[in-house]
Amino acid sequence: MPGSVTYVLWPLTLLAQVGVVVCSLRGHSFRKYLALNLYMLSSFFAAILRFSILSQYGFSSKEYFYFYYYSEALLTVCLFFGLISLYTNVLTELKAERLVHLAATLLLLATALFSYLVIRQSANKMLTHFVVEMSQNLYFVGLVLTYVLWGAIMKLRETRTRLIQLVLSTGLYFSAFAAIYALRNLYPSLHAIWGYLPPLIALALPVAWGYAFWRVPEEARLAPARLAVVPR
């Protein structure tokens, strides 16, 4: 059964998600970061529906089980598109939007195909296994994509503070999940600790994005020297 920490952090995460959208609307950035805001909104509504199903059918119900994993997969795809929108923002001066969209589509299709090849031997509940496998694979694709994006930011000497804050917080989010997953497998005896960390990280992402929209103006710039050391 889920711990009480989950139930404390869950409403806080919902508040933070609404906060992201409100701060974004307040700063007239909703359309500029449309994919990120849509991800936050869908995450918020998915959480409301999850809570409704959980309270109606219970934690061990099939309804909650299926809704949780299917909504998780859809949200992961939304987050993937959010990440791609950050790519479009970073590479906007190179006019590489079409190539970014082509690469994103190819990557999504290839991930789906790979996930299908992994689970194709499971005769029962193939769709459920596909959805979970795809969701897991997209997490790791997102992780690698974020690091590649950070490399592009360094290379292009990107100076937009808000964009950098958004990319870094997304990178931390993906990295923390991968690290927790690996540590949980390495030290399964510390199961209690690993159970508390994922809801904390799930809360940290909307808080970091909300901070970026609330406190960092769109015009704010970082000096390139603070991002990369220039050889003399």
């Binding site: 089980f65 949780y68 190539l99 296994h129 994922p198 990280i201």
Partner: protein, 72 residues
């Protein structure tokens, strides 16, 4: 054309990198899954046969007693 091929190559490279990373991270894993979007208690993994109305494990194709693990 070459730019499109470069994009294709990069996409495949990222996929290979991500799946390699996943393999490293999930080595010796207990079948649990990474779930974080939208919060809420995580239901039992579909890869585990413990508690709750979990669908059959994808690694079992039929019933019967499980033979000893080759790693023991």
């Amino acid at each position: 054309m070459s730019r499109k091929l470069a994009v294709l190559f990069l996409a495949m490279l990222i996929l290979v990198g991500a799946m390699s990373l996943k393999t490293v991270v999930t080595t010796h894993g207990d079948g649990s899954v990474v779930m974080a979007n939208a919060g809420g208690p995580v239901p039992p993994s579909p890869w585990k046969n413990a508690g709750g109305p979990v669908p059959p494990s994808p690694w079992k194709n039929a019933g019967g007693p499980v033979p000893p693990s080759p790693w023991k």
